[in-house]
Symmetry: C2
Subunit: 207 residues, 2 copies
Amino acid sequence: MKGRKVSEITIRRLSHYARCLRDAKSKGERTVTSGYFSRRCGISSAAVRKDLTMFGEFGKQGSGYNVIELLDQIESILGTCDPPFIIIAGAGNIGKALLESGLEGTGGHSYSAIFDIDPRLVGIKCAGLTVKSMDEIRTTVSGHENFIAIVAVSRGEGQKVVDRLIDSGCRAILSFNLEPLDIPDGVELRYIEVSTELDLLTYFMKT
Amino acid sequence: MKGRKVSEITIRRLSHYARCLRDAKSKGERTVTSGYFSRRCGISSAAVRKDLTMFGEFGKQGSGYNVIELLDQIESILGTCDPPFIIIAGAGNIGKALLESGLEGTGGHSYSAIFDIDPRLVGIKCAGLTVKSMDEIRTTVSGHENFIAIVAVSRGEGQKVVDRLIDSGCRAILSFNLEPLDIPDGVELRYIEVSTELDLLTYFMKT
């Protein structure tokens, strides 16, 4: 797979396999079968085997996959063996909830800093971090070539924050703000859309 | 499109178009062009026109689409003109953050009730709702044929809550809990996966 662009759907499944493998590892299991992934991820064993052979010979049908070896290889594909610096822009309800829930068990990801524009929030402690002023973004991320910013600010404030993040060198954004955001080429933007998921569930429930 | 199953990706785009149309409506705009959707949703005008003609003759190229008429038709496809009852299972950080952020501007969706198993949380007020005991789920949803449950409980508690929801007639679940959940056929389950989105961003940033 070296050098080949892998589709989003495959990367998403690899992320799910990695989560299952971390769980197996924490329980001391040495090998898992394609059926293990199949049951836990809701896809067929054949699709699991196809995904995993795409990336080389990770295991043998019958004898199963070596948990540590497969996890190492998937994390090296995902790039999470060298996890990026992750910051949260916005210390409101969502930002604080993310920080308090943490990212334990997700393969090395953790939140490194949280920022807000509201001076009343700056300085407050939350899950071991102190809320910083948005003015400190640039100095905080300095030295981190790859960093991800999570945007969870008040409605209508998204673009201003995104512009500031991009000025600070950000190339990957996960937005809880639903307003459409203008970003330059080369910046990857993804949205967490609770309302769209509710629309999808509404549609599927009625059809 | 009557009777025809529409793909998830199309429903997702219709949900985005509906959001844009509500915004246009709130600003008093009467018509919008395919370019309006294209710019705001990051897809080509041709793809927008193709999506919209799939569902009948909503507009004419050049003269644009009538905002109110198109929104009515999309909401009737999505089923959000008769929005389902939405409950939140779990009054922890995520549950409270969702409730406090609300669903304004999402086309009729709103949170109707929130539940927790922790007796210390039951009775607490949050964004106008009082946290109820999980034991009250069945009586609260009684009479609501279509309801959606958002699951945001402590790690390891997801399956117990999901079993209880399904016993109460739930057929649509949006889970913030990442543990794999067993659900019977006929129940639609979707996950909000911050960690998978971070994996995707990490991968795309490094390739």
